[in-house]
Amino acid sequence: MTGQTMRSIRFFGGGRCGALLLLLGLALCALAAPARADALDDALAGFTADKYDDTEKAIAALVAAAPPNGAEILAALGSGRLAYEPESRTVLVRHADGKLSLARTGEPASAEIAGKPLKTVRVNNRIRRAVEAGSGAFALRAPDPAKRAAAARAVFRSREAAALPAIEAALAAETDAGARAALEQARAAIIVSKPDAPEAERIAAVDAVAAAGDQDALAILNSLPAGSPQAVNDAAAAGIAKIERWRSIANLIQNLVYGVSLGSVLLLAAIGLAITFGVMGVINMAHGEMVMIGAYATFLTQNLIRAHAPALDGASLLIAIPVAFLVAGAVGVAIERTVIRFLYGRPLETLLATWGVSLILQQAVRTLFGPSNREVQTPDWLQGSIEILGVSLTLNRIAIVLFALLVFAGLQLLLRRTSLGLQVRAVTQNRRMAGSMGIRTARIDALTFGLGSGVAGVAGVALSQIDNVSPNLGQGYIIDSFLVVVFGGVGNLWGTLVGALSIGVANKLLEPWAGAVLGKIVLLVAIILFIQKKPRGLFALKGRAVEA
């Protein structure tokens, strides 16, 4: 927002300057016609008298004359940068960088004038208020429709009755639909609070205000002047109910959207585990460290690309995805070959051994990269935010939701539609039978574990965008990931999807009334109780496979 609109908002919020606004409104009404040169000259002449009364009148005249650089002149006056040369009575604007320009035309001042002694137009608080009022009026007529709308919204909030003529004048000239709607709302807000307006008009205005549906509209309807007709009060009560209903729905939508966002983070973190733990049955406590390795791979990839191929900088995150997959996958295969394969069928020992592996990996990364956070940059195309259903979401959060679903779909395809997936499923369902059919089970074990680890590494690429890349990155996700997989039902990727999303949404729905930490605790306890009730999760495998 520019300085001028800011100032106008402050003014309209002020509320004590009714008289000035009236003045301003009159000036505005007079001013549908194009600015006349002599009117501007008269206005500027007023500044050179250097009396407060004259300056105030000059401001009103300036607003009426509406020169293109009027806002600039007022800004200069307000900050004590408006000067005049007493002899020729030329008004000059002194810019922040010390240069001078003619107020009349906006052109740079000649050296001749600049060389003469200049006097600054003095300001006091009264003048400052007048300046702000004038800036507000200029904002209502600013060439940018967004600025006009912002000025109208400021009036909407202040519902200053004196601004009505100005609003109506601006409304008559307004062509932009958005600004027009804002102006109409501002007009309605004023009429609602105006005791002497006709009743029917006030009721119509109540509806218009209620349609705005925000906190300010609620405040306006809640503070109707005393002694309003019953019909107006009733309409306002109905409007308030409508706004509150809408706001509770909007809140719910917002929590749902945030919940899906959190759920997708959980899904990403847990989906690799759904392979290693869910499909293979390996209790992989080093899963979080695979995510962490993926994040560090992203960091390294970005740095290498910046150093050696700056042209690819924008795509570095995309390049990091396969890199992270390969690095984390390779580490996973190495762990499977050296540790886990000796421990199949001994889940508790696997748990301890992989915990040991996670400690070693953490310390290794700490030794290599240092204990502090590493900066992974967000590419330009992921910066910024957009609004969905009235909820503002950053682009990287949306990207993570999409990415999580993409990874999920890819993994499903891999397991369901490729020969590797077929072999993986065969080995996990009946190892000896699969071996008899010529599948190299040991190789499949290593590949499956590598796949799960690689997917965890890919999750690390995404999480590097929203979390600190530090050696402890993985630890924050390990318990959540396990709960998601167990909650969803082991050995069932769809269960993981549903589990992650429902835990995410439940967490965000709990947060408003319990607070972030307590909400998380409540959720943990709820999941613990749920697992007691259904020890095999939401979508339990049935039949003999359970016993294997």
């Binding site: 508790l348 290794a364 318990i479 930490v517 307590l518 605790i521 999941i527 109780l529 007691q532």
Partner: protein, 380 residues
Amino acid sequence: MSRYRFLDAAGLIFLGVVLAMAVLVPASNLLLPPDSALHVSDYLVPLLGKYLAFAMLALALDLVWGYCGILSLGHGAFFALGGYAMGMYLMRQIGPRGVYGNPVLPDFMVFLNWQELPWFWLGFDQFWFAALMAILVPGALAFCFGWFAFRSRVTGVYLSIITQAMTFALMLAFFRNDMGFGGNNGLTDFKEILGFSVQAPETRAALFAATAVALALSYLLCRWVVTSKLGKVVVAVRDAESRTRFIGYRVENYKLLVFTLSAMLAGVAGALYVPQVGIINPSEFAPANSIEAVIWVAVGGRGTLLGAALGAFLVNAGKTWFTGVLPDLWLFALGGLFVATTLLIPKGVVGAVTDLLGVRRKSELPAAQSIVAAAKSPAE
């Protein structure tokens, strides 16, 4: 299977060593001059006392894991709860000597602008009450938790994961300032216990002796449990849960009993730990702490009781040495210990030594295979 003897030779040696420590360490600290070669320094007494408290925690864990097959990754929570009970007593003993000089409210409550003591702090000015709570609170939590978990037949790694979630949830809860347990900073700045200054060497020596005696008693208790008929059933539950149920035992009741008893022992260990280290804060609830306790048992040898105590001593002594001399390498060493123990010496040090000596005493665990078999057998 033949009967376990209540106390075998190794057990007697263990008891002898622990009780000897209870006498000799305080004596050498207090009576011998500091320049004597046998003098135990003021720094070493609470450190050794800490190890003894950890050894008690390891005993408790070995009871549920080694004998009942329940791998609890949340025993640190019971330990910390016992510690908090003791910490609350010690906080109340500070009285008006705190920074803010409030005779009733601990400093952190004054700082939070609380006007009166929360109800759950009442009674903690009495030592007996705090000591009772150090046992009852962990016991009650374990009872409730186990009641639900064992009845719905949550077993194996599922149980491990939810115990871990339990201690994690408690950690988050205790980090909250509004919980009334000092939030982030926990409870510290203790002044005296039972009227004796906690800083004084004499008090520390007494605490050490008390911990050693408590360890010896816990060992006797655990030993009594595992050699009794109850212990036989418990081992049967570990090795073949379904079969034991089909024979007609109420498996969940046995599990619940052992789990609750073990949690109470862990609570006592925590209560003895806190006055010696002088602080208790929510990081004691960290899931990593509980897993670390599991590795003490694994290193020493699970299902042997004295192996668990020995493991706690060895690993923690190693930790003290590493973090002092090679701090960067400690996590490598600990991680390596986890991997090496599970891969190379699944029976732990005690098991390995027994095998090496070729002595297969009847009082020892049958073999690690039985545990493996238990893990492999159908959960239902």
